[in-house]
């Protein structure tokens, strides 16, 4: 009973934030809307029982990545977006394509009727439950991603450095 209400509440927050991201002119407003979206998503994860993921979402995504975004926005001091002519083809081609893609995807999933409800907190995604597969079956991807981050750091440093 509570589950659907909570779900719709948080879903509304997500969608609202997303739409606000689109609508806002200044990037900082968009960034803040995105933080709202991420927070709501974290709450939805909690609804689904994915505690670890929710926590990581807040810490990493909302806490680190979005902060990084805000830092860059402030560093570059980008003003409000101006209107440029741009390309019309983006809208002309992209939006119908998007509609087709989403429409098809939804059609398939809804048509085939993936029945089954998801209970509140159905999968207990405790940290220790997540950790076991992570360090056993998925050890290799784990190590690879760590290397990936290392490379990303090096790349970021090299790219952003002011050339002397």
């Amino acid at each position: 009973m509570l589950h659907p209400i909570l779900f719709f509440l948080f879903a509304a927050l997500c969608v609202g934030g997303a739409i606000n991201l689109l609508v806002q002119k200044h990037p900082i407003n968009s960034a803040l809307s995105l933080i709202v979206v991420m927070a709501s998503l974290a709450l939805i994860y909690l609804l689904l029982g994915a505690e670890f993921v929710a926590a990581v979402q807040v810490i990493v995504y909302a806490g680190a990545i979005m902060v990084l975004f805000v830092f860059v926005i402030m560093l570059l001091n980008a003003g409000a977006e101006e209107r440029t002519a741009g390309s019309r083809i983006a809208a002309v081609l992209g939006i119908p394509a998007l509609a087709v893609a989403i429409g098809l995807g939804l059609y398939v999933t809804l048509q085939h009727g993936i029945t089954g409800d998801v209970a509140l907190g159905s999968t207990p995604g405790y940290p220790h439950a997540v950790a076991r597969p992570l360090f056993r079956e998925f050890l290799l991807p784990f190590e690879v991603t760590s290397v990936l981050i290392l490379i990303a750091i090096m790349g970021a440093v090299v790219l952003a450095k002011r050339s002397e």
């Binding site: 779900f7 997500c14 969608v15 997303a18 739409i19 991201l21 689109l22 960034a31 995105l34 979206v37 991420m38 998503l41 939805i44 994860y45 689904l48 994915a50 670890f52 993921v53 990581v56 990493v60 995504y61 990545i65 990084l68 860059v72 926005i73 560093l75 570059l76 977006e81 101006e82 440029t84 983006a90 939006i95 998007l98 989403i102 995807g105 939804l106 999933t109 993936i114 089954g116 409800d117 998801v118 999968t123 995604g125 997540v130 597969p133 992570l134 079956e137 998925f138 991603t145 990936l148 981050i149 490379i151 990303a152 750091i153 790349g155 970021a156 440093v157 090299v158 790219l159 002011r162």
Partner: protein, 100 residues
């Protein structure tokens, strides 16, 4: 008891918003944020299915997606800073020299 399809629809909506933002916005940083939005929508799908089927590999994949998103954001923003230094603009329509 919320049907799985609701989560999927929500995910689709968020993804659609992300794509729209990518197509319509002109500020590079905003475009980046739309990409993050898309990634989040996908994460939601993963977690929803993980809950539906009761396996945890969905969570683990979400974990990896987040890691990759972080790396990508870092490098991407570095690129934006580099581009900003030369082009003095964050308008993506002005960064159009790579053409035939």
């Amino acid at each position: 008891m919320v049907p799985l399809s609701y989560y999927l629809v929500l995910s689709a909506i968020l993804f659609g918003c992300g794509v729209l933002g990518f197509l319509l916005k002109r500020n590079i940083i905003t475009i980046f944020m739309s990409i993050e939005l898309m990634l989040n929508a996908v994460n939601l799908t993963f977690v929803a299915f993980a809950a539906h089927w009761g396996v945890l590999s969905g969570h683990i994949f979400v974990f990896f997606v987040m890691v990759v998103a972080a790396a990508e954001a870092a490098v991407g923003l570095a690129i934006i800073i580099a581009v900003f230094r030369t082009r003095e603009t964050l308008n993506v329509d002005r960064v159009n020299l790579l053409k035939l």
